[in-house]
């Protein structure tokens, strides 16, 4: 497995492989984004994207059906959209509706179109659709008073079948220690608050909605309070059940949560520079499944 050291001059804040696992994008406090081509063990730096005026927090690849497109968000309050065409990377759009650091970006399930969710420290989340005619129509929602630290889409519940109603949802976590679930209302064309989940005693740092819909929907939230909570909901309706990942607190703050594509394994990382993996056993308890250290 490839190991890339010192890709950036400063701290790395995100690293994401594209849909096919061939391209790796990393972003850093050095305000740049680097694109690597990964082939087995080998990797090759193909591009350094600069354009942000502050540290770049997160990056996200769009579904390949939209082209080779990368979204990045930064402390400068902007979300930039980059596109590769014929080996050349260009910045194709700027999404600048936020007045403070944008802490997370995520593309919606591709069934919804080129829809981007951005969460910002100005307390708002924005959903912006990049339409085919080149226009955007951002929807900005006041989500968490002090700041939104992360936002994550729910997986698409039905196939790309236009006549059935899609339950389009996402979850946000904020500096008000709350986790909120939002639902798209087709009549008002707005996102409305569906649930507010209370459980953390400090800032919620990351939220991750499990990409798979098996028995139930899962949301993992990690917080500055050294805990991770798994929220689950049956059949996409009703109340959310709160399950602490483990009874005792983690040794340090938790920063990041990530589900594997089929929703089996949860990877957590935090201030102790350590990655832990978790899976649910048959009784519905969460057990450690591995650990990665530098």
């Amino acid at each position: 497995m490839p190991t890339i050291a010192n890709a950036h001059n400063d701290l790395i804040h995100d690293a994401v492989l594209d849909y096919y696992g061939r391209r790796l994008a990393t972003c850093s406090s050095d305000k740049t984004i680097k694109i690597f081509e990964v082939e087995g063990e080998a990797h090759k730096l193909v591009e350094t994207l600069s354009g942000h005026e502050g540290p770049v927090w997160r990056i996200a690849w769009a579904h390949p059906k939209f082209g080779t497109i990368l979204a990045s968000c930064s402390y400068d309050g902007k979300v930039l959209i980059w596109k590769e065409e014929n080996g050349k990377w260009d910045q194709i759009a700027v999404h600048a509706v936020h007045s403070a650091s944008v802490n997370s970006v995520q593309w919606a399930p591709h069934e919804y179109g080129a829809l981007l969710l951005a969460a910002s420290s100005d307390g708002k989340v924005s959903v912006v659709e990049f339409k085919e005619n080149g226009t955007t129509s951002p929807i900005v929602i006041d989500a968490h008073a002090i700041g939104v630290n992360a936002a994550s889409w729910a997986p698409a519940t039905v196939q790309g079948d236009s006549n059935s109603q899609q339950l389009r949802r996402f979850v946000t976590g904020g500096a008000d220690n709350l986790v909120k679930v939002w639902k798209f209302n087709n009549d008002s064309q707005m996102y409305v608050l569906e649930n507010t989940l209370e459980g953390h005693s400090d800032w919620v740092r990351d939220v991750a909605w499990s990409p798979s819909i098996l028995l139930r929907s899962y949301i993992a939230t990690v917080s500055q309070d050294h805990t991770c909570i798994i929220w689950s909901q049956e059949n996409n309706e009703g109340s959310w059940k709160k399950t602490p990942l483990q009874a005792e607190r983690f040794p340090d703050v938790l920063w990041r949560a990530s589900w594997s594509l089929s929703g089996n394994i949860l990877a957590l990382s935090g201030g102790d520079n350590k990655v832990t993996l978790w899976k649910e056993d048959l009784e519905g308890k969460w057990e450690p499944a591995g650990e990665v250290q530098q």
Binding site: S121, E132, N133, A175, N264
Partner: protein
């Protein structure tokens, strides 16, 4: 103050001021109302009408969404038609009537050009005449009284026309630019040009007639020159040429004096230049010169796309006055108004107070920014309305077109009319800016109504104003009246709190009292006071003493005034300040006095701290793990070195309290942290990590300060300050677009990074690893495997064989559990396939196949094994495969059928309809879609029966005793057990069993479809399996297995289809006719068409070289189609269409 919105340009609050308006949305063209009140901006979204006298009210938006950029927009210059605006929409020109409702404002569409229109020009003489030109080389002149076709047409033939202009003085003459040449046309002389101005070395972008000299015009070209011509004298020799360093996009005569205004298409510092054309002594005879601008309007940070002049004039007993203001639109999304300095008037020999020979038409000074009262103007013909609805997507959103607060924040007005420092100073200038800043600062406070021009605000908020319980929040609606003179002395805003049962009178009184005090105090000092008032409502203590000193800088949170920086830094952090600040900043300000070396840095810090007060950006992630779609885990870590440093920073933060009180700061700091690092580990857990990003910044620099000598720090500090200042001025010059608190941070941020870099420059000599990205393969944890996906089969064979094959595959990979599962499944299926009349009894039996599927489903669900779930579902649901198998091998004999029927009685009646439904797709794919409606309706008819017999014991002997025969067509409600006993062995006469299934099996229609296939899944499970296979299909796609994906989706598509049919039939009544069903089918198809922009094989968008099936209209890339048809006969979308067959029949 902006208090007036009236009907006189001389009371305009924006005339003579500089103003900047941010308008997002890709606006490309600009025009102005001749009265100078409104401007119209045109973009792909439609038209925006902005009232320049009330820039704070959001624009009126006339929606017209097109994929084409609007090339030009023109406001009619005639007082007769002040409400007409013409805009281009590719090859059409659209005439809008702004006096009509926005949804119905299109008055005419001029359509004769066959390629994009590039320019429109109203005739200066006739309100109804205008000219258009297009890249189709034609120039058309239109009379709008008969808009069907142009009354005059000419063409430059060789190259497209870029500009067309009417002569100001000769109503029959117009000029158009074609490539490098300009043609002069006379309406009376047909399409023979009056003259052709030849001389430019590159294409001509701009043509403008002289207002006063009949036969003179100027042209501007990409060759960087502006030429002035007199076509009555010579068409080959310009009378004058002015050369510039940049290609000219627009060059026009000034509407006043003798001068011209030039605008570059690229370069030229994004400015608009004014040059004088007045004859100077000693320059006669020189007709080729360099551009010597007498003035430049500089400040946009992207290229200016158009400019217009706003004018006002007055001629009365006191004398005459004419005044102009430049309005520019730039690609940086700013609309700007620039005052014209007096000196410019002088240099172009223009006397503002000179009486004009001719009278200027008087325009009604009204705005079209508001929606007209006449809601529906039904004057337009019906066909026009349809057309309009067709082109624009009106009705998408209702009212909230523009967010008022964000619109407000884009408005900048400057009272200082000297343009040198426009757009630079960033203090609050007016109520609009104050409201906008409040809106950003207090997101929870809702501004229900904002009317800056009249000074009315309605604010709603939840405040802790309850007398008894300080934690109880009361909803308050507050009406604020702001006098126009606000915030000058003696004009405080008036607050009135709406009556509210929760608010006690005492409390209201005291609130009002406090509000009055605050307002009076602030306005006496000329300060804006809404913020402290809002804070009061929100339950904060407002200290009247400090208001005077602090409030304005506090309010001015966006970008600090550069000059005021000193003052700000010396500002002691007041009480309500520190509430928000981390203690780091307090210590910072205490440190300030300690070292003169650090002063500058601290100044900067002080500067930023204020901005950072509200910055809640969390500490950045330094380590993380992200799953990639292919099952590998991507981890990134901070380096050891970084870790150390961070810990130090943390320690420092933790020990700050103690440090604070020590005089020798550095000594103390080092001492402390050394002490702590010695016994770090136990302490670490207790250390409170910094939470906010901004808290880590100072600590980083301070730790740098510790690690380097003071002298080097001094150097570096000065370096930073330079770079900071550079950044700062950059921001001020270039970055006006960013009107947030962020730019102020930029300098700070870059500074930190610089310091980090310089540090790393020192330390990395040891080649220390600073950060690391590791990919770890954890695919063993994930049950879904690509190798299995490649080998598992789920179509093209009888179910039993498929399961057996999969069992072998699983065994090969050593997956015992899965292998066993498949094996059992296979055995069950095999027995199922045997024509054993009694085997179906086992279906619900604890050892039966249905039970097995349910168990397996719940097991693998708990195991989160998507692959197994999807594959099992696919095999179980893949009735299509078994239909093929059975129809080939099994002949229906009545006896067998009969027995099957018998066995179906044993189904739980509740499940029966489900099993039927799941069967439907297979019929659907085999039949024409009419039959299912029969099934559905007939089934529906019987549903009450099923419920009624729910608890019956079918094995009781009386079933066989009472035999009554009921004709299949009759369907009375059956509620006794007698009927359920109709299971006679006489198949054609007996059809009344309590159970739907049987009825249907014996139906005539059904018998035409041979043998129904029982499904192994009940409906809930089928729905689940549908999800699973859809999910799994995604997984297959990421694994690069589109073939398998399409195969799988084929199955799931069928079940989806069933799903929709299901709901249809449930909603509809049982006597629904066939046509109803047909119609829904048809609609469904139409929706599909819309969806099929993408290939049904690989899922990517199709562009060219497509394969389109004529039968089902599904598309594929040509290359994908080749792959697919090599292996399959059926459509890749899973619609069941045999596309090659269709093709063959069509060809025959």
């Amino acid at each position: 103050m902006v208090g007036y919105v009236g009907g006189d340009p001389y009371q305009s609050p924006s005339f003579g001021k500089s103003l900047s308006l941010r308008v997002d949305g890709g606006v490309n063209a600009l025009s102005i109302n001749p009265s100078g009140r409104d401007v119209v901006l045109a973009s792909k979204q439609g038209l925006h009408i902005i009232d320049l006298d009330d820039p704070f009210s959001p624009p009126r938006w006339l929606r017209h969404v097109t994929p084409w950029q609007v090339a030009d927009v023109q406001w009619s210059p005639h007082p007769a038609k002040p409400y007409w605006v013409v805009s281009t929409s590719n090859q059409k020109a659209i005439i809008w009537n702004l006096a009509k409702a926005s949804s119905d404002a299109i008055e005419h569409v001029l359509h004769k050009h066959f390629r994009a229109i590039t320019d429109i020009n109203f005739s200066p003489q006739h309100p109804d005449i205008l000219a258009t030109c297009s890249i189709d080389t034609y120039v058309h002149a239109w009379d709008i009284r008969s808009p069907q076709r142009p009354f005059y047409t000419t063409s430059g033939w060789r190259s497209g026309a870029s500009q067309v202009k009417w002569s100001f003085n000769d109503q029959n003459v117009l000029a158009s630019a074609h490539g490098n040449d300009v043609c002069i046309w006379d309406l009376r002389k047909g399409s023979t040009p009056l003259g052709k101005l030849v001389g430019h070395g590159s294409s001509v972008n701009s043509v403008d007639f002289n207002r006063f000299k009949r036969t003179e015009l100027m042209t501007g070209s990409n060759d960087g020159s502006v030429k002035f011509w007199d076509y009555s004298k010579s068409c080959n020799e310009p009378i004058k040429t002015v050369r510039t360093d940049f290609p000219i996009w627009r060059g026009r005569y000034l509407p006043f004096g003798e001068g011209c205004c030039l605008m570059p298409s690229v370069g030229g510092y994004n400015s608009v230049y004014v040059a004088s054309l007045a004859k100077k002594e000693g320059t006669e005879g020189v007709n080729d010169s360099k551009l010597q601008p007498i003035y430049a309007f500089k400040g946009h940070n992207d290229r200016v796309t158009d400019f217009v002049w706003r004018s006002r004039n007055r001629c009365d007993s006191e004398g005459c006055d004419r005044e102009f203001q430049l309005v520019t639109w730039s690609k940086d999304c700013d609309l700007r108004l620039w005052p014209v300095p007096e000196a410019v008037y002088d240099r172009v020999n223009f006397n503002r107070h000179q009486e004009l020979g001719e009278s200027i038409p008087s325009y009604e000074y009204v705005t079209y920014n508001r929606e007209p009262d006449i809601a529906k103007h039904q004057t337009g013909s019906h066909s026009k309305r349809i057309r309009e609805n067709f082109v624009s997507t009106s009705g998408l959103k209702s009212k909230k077109d523009v967010n008022h607060i964000s619109w407000l924040s884009g408005v900048r007005m400057n009272y200082d009319s000297s343009p040198e420092n426009i757009f630079k100073e960033r203090t609050l200038q007016n109520l609009g800016e104050e409201v906008s800043s409040l809106g950003h600062k207090f997101p929870k406070v809702v501004f229900e109504k904002i009317s800056v021009s009249t000074g009315e605000l309605i604010i709603t908020l939840n405040g802790p104003c309850s007398q008894n319980d300080p934690d109880q929040y009361i909803f308050l609606r507050i009406d604020v009246k702001v006098p126009p003179e606000y915030p000058s002395k003696g004009y405080p805003p008036v607050f009135s709190i709406e009556d509210n049962g929760n608010l006690s009178n005492n409390r209201r009184e005291s609130l009002n009292q406090q509000l009055r005090e605050i307002c009076t105090k602030c306005t006496d000092l000329g300060l804006y006071c809404l913020e402290p008032c809002l804070r009061l409502f929100l339950g904060e203590k407002v200290n009247l003493e400090e208001l005077g000193q602090n409030d304005e800088p506090l309010l001015n949170f966006e970008i600090a005034n550069q000059l005021a920086m000193e003052d700000l830094s010396s500002l002691p952090s007041s009480e309500d300040h520190t509430e928000y600040l981390s203690d780091s900043s307090t210590s910072e300000s205490e440190e300030k006095g300690n070292s003169s070396v650090l002063n500058l840095g601290v100044n900067l810090d002080g500067q930023i701290n204020r901005d950072l007060t509200f910055d809640s950006t969390p500490v950045p992630t330094e380590c993380g793990a992200i799953w990639s779609p292919n099952g590998t885990l991507l981890c990134f870590f901070a380096s050891e070195g970084k870790q150390d440093r961070k810990q130090q920073a943390m320690l420092r933060l933790a020990s700050r309290d103690t440090i604070k009180h020590q005089n020798g700061y550095y000594k103390g700091g080092i001492h402390k942290s050394k002490m702590l690092t010695d016994n770090t580990t136990p302490d670490l857990t207790k250390v409170q990590r910094p939470k906010r990003y901004v808290e880590t910044i100072p600590s980083a620099t301070n730790s740098l300060g510790k690690s380097t000598h003071l002298t080097s720090e001094e150097e570096s500090e000065s370096e930073y300050s330079d770079s900071f200042e550079d950044d700062w001025s950059d921001i001020l010059v270039n970055d006006i677009g960013v009107r947030t608190k962020l730019p102020a941070l930029r300098g700070r941020v870059s500074k930190t990074f610089e310091s980090v870099n310089s540090e790393s420059g020192k330390t990395t000599e040891s080649k220390k690893v600073k950060n690391m990205v590791i990919t770890k393969d954890f695919s063993h944890l994930i049950p879904d495997r690509k190798d299995l996906a490649l080998e598992f089969r789920f179509t093209d064979a009888p179910q039993g064989e498929l399961a057996r094959h999969n069992a072998l595959v699983a065994e090969k990979y050593g997956l015992e559990e899965k292998s066993h599962c498949w094996q059992i499944f296979s055995d069950l299926l095999m027995t199922n396939e045997e024509i054993d009349p009694y085997n179906l009894i086992w279906d619900n039996h604890p050892m039966g196949i249905k039970w097995f599927i349910k168990e397996v489903l719940s097991y693998f669900e708990r195991k989160n094994d998507l692959q197994m779930l999807a594959m099992l579902g696919a095999v179980a649901a893949n009735t299509a495969a078994s239909v093929l198998a059975t129809t080939n091998t099994v002949k229906l004999d009545p006896n067998q059928d009969n027995k099957k029927m018998k066995s179906t009685i044993n189904f739980n009646p509740n499940e029966n309809p489900n099993s039927w439904r799941t069967d439907l797709p297979s019929y659907l794919s085999l039949n024409n879609g009419v039959a299912p409606s029969f099934f559905e309706s007939s089934k529906y008819r019987y549903s009450p029966d099923e419920i009624s017999i729910k608890s019956e014991d079918y094995f009781s002997p009386k079933h066989y005793n009472n035999t009554s025969t009921i004709a299949p067509t009759v369907s009375p409600p059956i509620s006794n057990t007698a009927v359920s006993a109709t299971i006679a062995h006489n198949q054609h006469t007996v059809s009344r069993i309590p159970n739907v299934t049987i009825e249907l099996v014996d139906d005539d229609v059904l018998s035409a479809i041979r043998q129904p296939v029982r499904s192994l899944l009940d409906q809930n499970d089928a729905a689940k399996f549908r999800f699973y296979s859809y999910q799994y299909a995604k997984l297959l796609y990421t694994w690069g297995l589109p073939m398998q994906r399409a195969e799988l989706l084929k199955i799931s598509f069928e079940s989806t289809h069933k799903g929709t049919l299901d709901t249809d039939s449930r909603i509809s009544s049982d006597n629904r006719d066939i046509f109803g069903e047909m119609e829904t089918n048809w609609e469904e198809n139409r929706q599909r068409e819309a969806n099929f922009h993408s290939c049904n094989y690989c899922g990517l968008k199709v562009t060219r070289n497509i394969f389109l099936c004529q039968g089902c209209e599904h598309v594929m890339h040509a290359s994908c189609a080749r792959d697919w048809w090599a292996q399959s006969e059926q459509c890749a979308s899973g619609c069941g269409c045999l596309c090659p067959e269709v093709l063959r029949t069509l060809q025959v």
